[in-house]
């Protein structure tokens, strides 16, 4: 029993078929409870008023936007090194999800920024690097869809993902240098004694869990679809030959 067993598409589909309903069910549960708790049963911040509640969408989406890229990076490396097709397809499946997460983070940030900072958008380092991350997602998705041959596309996009990660990281620090920030520092971290106050913290953790599960469910689903689509194409090709 090893992780590499799931490189077999049949095995992957069989396992995810069992896991998928549980993951999606848990995702829905966590999101419903977390968001409703967060939106309706937490006090309003004494300075930010009710706008503080956007944190339950903004923070998890931003987290997942970055983690989705990291997951794509790892999957790409697995594809380059061990050439497991499922891994390449999982990277492909994660890209649009990550892009949407980036858009959610940017949009909710803008909605929060309007009343709080008095502007929809500032060229703050964090905001700017998210916008750049979004551009990287777009380029990655566009390259996938532009190349016809599946293996070539997988190879090229994984190298783009590796090179892109380096440049995304460079940009992250370059924009820090370029402009000073308006965005607050991290409100959550694992090694800090105190995070945001507990009333906000617990529903936030729930909605983060919900977003993670949602991401996993979507990636499983999209990878399955991709495997099945590829199998259909292979069958059709065989039919035409025979």
């Amino acid at each position: 029993m090893s992780l590499w067993e799931y490189a077999n598409p049949v095995k992957f589909i069989r396992t995810t078929d069992v896991v998928l309903p549980w993951v999606s069910g848990l995702a829905v549960l966590c999101l419903t409870v977390g968001l409703i708790w967060g939106f309706f049963f937490t006090p309003e911040d004494y300075r930010q008023g009710s706008t503080v509640k956007i944190i339950y969408l903004h923070v998890p989406a931003a987290l997942m936007a970055i983690n989705a890229w990291i997951m794509m990076l790892i999957a790409s490396m697995i594809w380059i090194i061990r050439r497991h097709h499922v891994s390449a397809l999982a990277a492909r499946a994660a890209a649009p999800v990550g892009a949407v997460m980036t858009v959610i983070a940017l949009a909710t940030g803008a909605l929060w920024g309007q009343p709080m900072w008095g502007t929809w958008w500032v060229w703050d380092p964090r905001l700017t690097s998210f916008l750049i991350l979004f551009l990287f997602y777009l380029g990655y998705i566009a390259l996938w869809s532009a190349i016809e041959d599946d293996d070539t596309a997988a190879d090229l996009t994984s190298i783009l993902c590796l090179v892109g990660s380096v440049f995304a990281l460079l940009s992250r620090y370059a924009v820090n240098f370029w402009n000073q920030g308006l965005h607050q520092g991290a409100s959550l971290s694992l090694d800090k004694e105190e995070n945001v106050a507990d009333v906000f913290y617990h529903p936030l953790l729930l909605s983060i869990a919900g977003f993670v599960l949602l991401f996993v469910a979507l990636v499983f689903l999209r990878t399955q679809t991709e495997i099945r689509a590829r199998r259909t194409r292979a069958l059709i090709a065989r039919e035409q030959q025979g």
Binding site: L143, I147, T152, L156, I159, F167, S171, A174, F177
Partner: protein, 218 residues
């Protein structure tokens, strides 16, 4: 390697190579900016370093698809790939040829165009220096993008989408050097970071470009 460089330079400079097209584009962008933002000299002086950098970057981008596409179409790239020269070497030479035919003229033209934009007197030297240090990175990164999109029919637009985000750090530090130089501030930190990006890209990216090219030539 030298023969390949000479060949690429000759092809680039002679008719049909599009030599000078990048320069003309740079000139036009610089001329169009005052039409867009108005002719006040104070405003132009303030944005001049940034405009020069963006103009040079776009002119560079415009000529990227020529780096490899022509050789790909007539099949000489396949011959180069089977030659004893490693593909990493071929890619580096291609990037160097692109820099000499496109980047270097842009660097030299930038101070002249600075006159049009009323660049501050201190700025000329630093615009020249920052472009001279930064444009090699643009060429090397561009070669990577060109190698990625080589076999595609509508590669041009995709090339811009892929390459422009990769240009962000270079642009930030390059324009920062030019801007600080024009304001008479200390330029050492951004200049060193720009040089770091430039040399890092020159050292590492040819391997990525070569890997991509091998996949595309498979």
């Amino acid at each position: 390697m030298r023969a390949l460089l000479a060949r690429d330079l000759r092809l680039g400079v002679r008719a049909g190579g599009g030599f000078g097209l990048g320069l003309a584009f740079f000139l036009i962008v610089t001329v169009l900016v005052p039409f867009g933002v108005g002719p006040e000299t104070a405003l132009l002086a303030r944005i001049a370093p940034g405009v020069l950098w963006i103009g040079a970057l776009l002119a560079c981008l415009l000529s990227l698809d020529r780096i490899l596409a022509l050789d790909w179409e007539d099949g000489s790239l396949d011959l180069l790939a089977t030659a004893p020269l490693p593909i990493e070497g071929v890619v580096s030479i291609k990037a160097l040829a692109h820099w000499i035919t496109t980047g270097l003229p842009l660097v030299l033209a930038a101070p002249l165009l600075g006159v049009l934009l009323n660049l501050a007197p201190d700025g000329y030297l630093w615009v020249l220096v920052s472009l001279a240090v930064g444009t090699p990175a643009l060429s090397v990164i561009g070669t990577f993008g060109a190698a990625l999109t080589i076999g595609l029919k509508r590669g041009g637009l995709l090339l811009s989408l892929l390459v422009l985000p990769l240009y962000v750090p270079t642009l930030i530090f390059g324009a920062e050097v030019a801007r600080r130089g024009a304001d008479g501030l200390d330029v050492a930190t951004p200049l060193m970071l720009l040089a770091g990006i430039s040399f890092g890209a020159m050292a590492l990216l040819p391997f990525a470009s070569a890997a991509v090219l091998r996949i595309n030539l498979r």
